[in-house]
Every structure is written in structure tokens, then in C-alpha cells.
């Protein structure tokens, strides 16, 4: 009997392998996202500092990271650093480093944009009430900044999750790579397997990203 393509997913441990691949994807993306949010917030605040040297440094960093394809950054960190300084970095650490560097730059720019978009009279009316700079930032500027950041940062998270598929080039097997391996191994038996496997990968990505977007939508509506 000719198997339907769908059963490729349930043959042997195929589905479990896909989930393991998803776990790698999630680990790399969520750890990098977490670190990027911390460093990105600091970087964004640094970008609003009115000092020429600080601004030049921030500009250089942001644009360097933006111009470099993530692919090149991965090569650079995984192979370059290892060669240059004889430090052996695992693929896993390299991936985290690269995605954190990238996420920090992008998140920083979002944070900077949100901070400068707060109208100056918000600072002034808070100052007129006798609040210190720290109090103004903590109670007036930061909460408004966070609300403005929800939509763009969720966008960034999902972008980062999807881009982690690049780590395959430094030898990591995440969800997409796992899918390709399954397809290759079953090419003869399941000629239409690719459709089903990629479909499953799509559904998995969706299941991860959808709750995040929904949560963001909720928060936005609540805080509108």
C-alpha cells in the first residue's frame, strides 16, 4: 500500500526529532531575545546620551551590525574568533553571541526611538511637579516607552526566531535543518514528503510565534 505523505511525520522518531530541532531553535532564539532585551534597553538609553563620542560609538555599532548579514557574523564569530584567539567557541555559544549582538542593536534602536518619541512636555510637566530626573524616567518616561515598544519588539522577537534557521551553517541542527534531514532520508519512500515536513515546520513556527503576537495584541489593547 502506498503510504500517504503525511505518515512520514510519524515514521520512527521523526516527529520527536522535529520537536528536538524546535527545542534548539527555541533555546537559541529565546536566550538571545532575553539578553537582547536587557542589553538593548541599556544600548537604547546609551543612544540618547548627548555626547558626541557615545553617539559615534553607538552609530558605528548599530550600522556595523545592520550592514553585516547575520550569516557573515556567524562565520566571523564561530570560525574567526576561534582561529584568531584560539578560543574554542561551541556552535551553540557562537549562535547566542551573534543573535544577541544583532538583537541588542535592533532592540536598542527601537528603545531609542520610543524614548525620543515621548513629547518633551511629558518631561517638563513631571519636572514642574518637583520630580528628579530618575523619578521622571522611572515613573513617566519608562512606562510610556514600554507601551510603545510592545508592537515593534514582538515583531523583532518573531524575526529573531525565524532567522535562527541560519545556524545550520555552523553545524547546528535546529527545526528546519531537522526537517531537511528527514526529507533527505526518506526521499525514495515518500516522494511527496517534503510538502508535509515543511508544512509541519510551518505549523511549529506558527505555534511558537502566534501566542507571542496574541499576548502583545492583548497588552496593547489593555494599555491603549
Amino acid at each position: 500500500m502506498q503510504d500517504t505523505g503525511l505518515s512520514i511525520l510519524f515514521r520512527g522518531i521523526n516527529f520527536l526529532r522535529l520537536l528536538q530541532g524546535l527545542w534548539v531553535t527555541l533555546q537559541i532564539s529565546l536566550i538571545s531575545v532575553g539578553l537582547s532585551f536587557i542589553f538593548g534597553t541599556l544600548f537604547g538609553m546609551l543612544m540618547t546620551v548627548k555626547n558626541r563620542f557615545v553617539q559615534a560609538f553607538c552609530w558605528l555599532y548599530l550600522n556595523f551590525i545592520r550592514i553585516m548579514p547575520q550569516l557573515v557574523l556567524l562565520f566571523l564569530v564561530y570560525f574567526g574568533v576561534t582561529r584568531q584567539w584560539q578560543i574554542s567557541l561551541s556552535a551553540w555559544s557562537s549562535a547566542i553571541i551573534v543573535f544577541t549582538l544583532w538583537g541588542t542593536a535592533e532592540m536598542g534602536d527601537l528603545v531609542r526611538g520610543a524614548i525620543v518619541s515621548i513629547p518633551s512636555h511629558q518631561y517638563e510637566s513631571a519636572a514642574a511637579l518637583g520630580m528628579t530626573k530618575q523619578q521622571i524616567f522611572r515613573f513617566v518616561i519608562l512606562p510610556q516607552t514600554i507601551r510603545r515598544l510592545i508592537a515593534p519588539s514582538i515583531n523583532l522577537i518573531t524575526r529573531m526566531i525565524k532567522t535562527t534557521s541560519l545556524v545550520e551553517i555552523i553545524g547546528m541542527v535546529e527545526v528546519l535543518k531537522t526537517g531537511q534531514q528527514i526529507i533527505d532520508a526518506n526521499r525514495m519512500q515518500y516522494p511527496t514528503g517534503a510538502l508535509w515536513v515543511y508544512g509541519a515546520v510551518f505549523v511549529l513556527y506558527f505555534l511558537v510565534c502566534w501566542p507571542i503576537s496574541t499576548l502583545a495584541g492583548r497588552l496593547e489593547r489593555k494599555w491603549r
Binding site: 513629547p119 512636555h121 511629558q122 517638563e124 510637566s125 513631571a126 519636572a127 514642574a128 511637579l129 518637583g130 520630580m131 528628579t132 523619578q135 515613573f139 513617566v140 512606562p143 510610556q144 507601551r147 494599555w223
Partner: protein, 251 residues
């Protein structure tokens, strides 16, 4: 009104980066309990004067003192001084992420360390006075312009300032909302609050002012009681200014 001088401006000179002097030697004493209305053509520096009085702008020379303490933008005790000077701006600048109640209690609780319950009770008492008690859990976006300005006044009052500065607080309002805000200010004046008011509402200025200060070209051109200013202005510039508020049918 008493003889005690609360806020004193001496020979104030102020220019912005790249502009000539906006204020060119302003001297003005505000007495305790006095209501001073500052008038003048658009761009003459009324807002600038008020912003200097609250330490929001730097100035080039002269001095501004509250009870003898010097007010400068980056002065060491500026946050302490600003608590004693309330200010309400033209644009409604409530904090959009906080409820009306929290807008009012934020500074008393965080800055003056007033216990939360006490600050809330005070907020309710003040909201009651401006007829907005039912809005205390609402958010600024749910309020009309006039309601927002009344809350802004209450928010400043919650700090128990010794003097209040008002910068054209009705200028951005729809005409039917102007009255409710001006009434609040009139009541404040009756209760003896020291106030410096910039306004384009001439009838209101006349009703509320103990003294009119007319500024033009960066200097005080005329300084007198409202009756004299509106009925017998002594300078040509004041006459011209007042003319812009009257309309005559063309023949």
C-alpha cells in the same frame, strides 16, 4: 494680598540659542496672595518668562528668587523649589498611562513621600472641588480638554504649592470649555492663592487680576491695576494691543 514678596524677578535677560534677547531686563515682584496677569502680543516672551520662573529655562543674567532662594535650571535644590511652584501648561500634559487619580498622587507619593491613602484622600477632595470626582478612575484620553485642564490644575495643587503659574491654559480649548477652567482659577484667586497668569482672555484677566503686567519687545511696557490698564492704557503699544481684541463693523 500682603506686602511679603514671594517670587522676585530682577533684571532678567534671556535669549535662546541664536536669537536676540527675548527678555531684556524684566523686573517683577510677586507678593504673597497676589494675582498677576501677564499680557502681551504673541511671541513677546510670556511663556519664556514663566518657564524661567519655574527653572525650566536657563537665563543669561539677572536673578529669580523664591523666598530668597535662587531659581536656576540646574540649581542644586531645584526639585525642592519646584514643589513650591505649581505650573499648568497650554497643552494638556497629563500622564497618559496613569489614571486621573494616579496622575494626581504620583508626585505627592514619590516626591513628598506622602502616604498613599492620604494622597488619595487629598486627590478626591481636590477632584470634588473641580467637579470631577466621578472621573478619578478614568484615563486622560477619556476626558474632554476642559476636564483635562482642571485635572492638571488639581495635580499641581496636590503638591500644595505656594504660587501657581498658568501659561495660556485655555488657549487650546473649545470655547464652551474655557469657562469651566477659568472658574476654577477664579475660585483659587478668591481663596488667596498667589498666581501668575498668562492669558488671552481679556475679560477674565480684568476680573481676576490684582495687577496687569504688559510686556512687549522684551521689556515691561506697562504695569498697573486692571481698571487703569483696560480703560486708560498710557502707552501707545498697550492701546494697539488692546485694539486687536475689539471688532468694529466696517463702514
Amino acid at each position: 494680598m500682603t506686602d511679603e514678596i514671594l517670587l522676585s524677578v530682577k533684571d532678567l535677560v534671556k535669549s535662546y540659542e541664536g536669537t536676540s534677547e527675548v527678555l531684556n531686563g524684566i523686573s517683577l515682584d510677586i507678593h504673597k496672595g497676589e494675582v498677576v496677569v501677564v499680557l502681551g502680543p504673541s511671541g513677546c516672551g510670556k511663556s519664556t518668562l514663566l518657564r524661567c520662573m519655574n527653572g525650566l529655562e536657563e537665563y543669561q543674567s539677572g536673578s529669580i528668587t523664591l523666598d530668597g532662594e535662587k531659581i536656576t535650571k540646574n540649581g542644586a535644590n531645584m526639585t525642592a523649589l519646584r514643589q513650591r511652584i505649581g505650573m499648568v501648561f497650554q497643552s494638556y500634559e497629563l500622564f497618559p498611562h496613569l489614571s486621573i487619580q494616579d496622575n494626581i498622587t504620583l508626585a505627592p507619593v514619590q516626591v513628598q513621600k506622602v502616604p498613599k491613602e492620604q494622597a488619595q484622600a487629598e486627590a478626591e477632595r481636590l477632584l470634588e472641588r473641580v467637579d470631577l470626582l466621578d472621573k478619578r478612575t478614568a484615563y486622560p484620553r477619556q476626558l474632554s480638554g476642559g476636564q483635562k485642564q482642571r485635572v492638571a490644575i488639581v495635580r499641581a495643587l496636590a503638591m500644595h504649592p505656594e504660587v501657581m503659574l498658568f501659561d495660556e491654559v485655555t488657549a487650546a480649548l473649545d470655547p464652551e470649555m474655557v469657562r469651566e477652567v477659568l472658574d476654577v482659577m477664579l475660585t483659587l484667586a478668591e481663596q488667596g492663592m498667589t498666581m501668575v497668569i498668562v492669558t488671552h482672555e481679556m475679560n477674565f484677566a480684568r476680573a481676576v487680576a490684582d495687577r496687569i503686567v504688559f510686556i512687549d519687545g522684551g521689556v515691561i511696557v506697562e504695569e498697573t491695576d486692571p481698571e487703569t490698564f483696560f480703560e486708560h492704557p498710557s502707552t501707545e503699544r498697550a492701546k494697539q494691543f488692546l485694539k486687536t481684541f475689539t471688532f468694529e463693523k466696517k463702514a
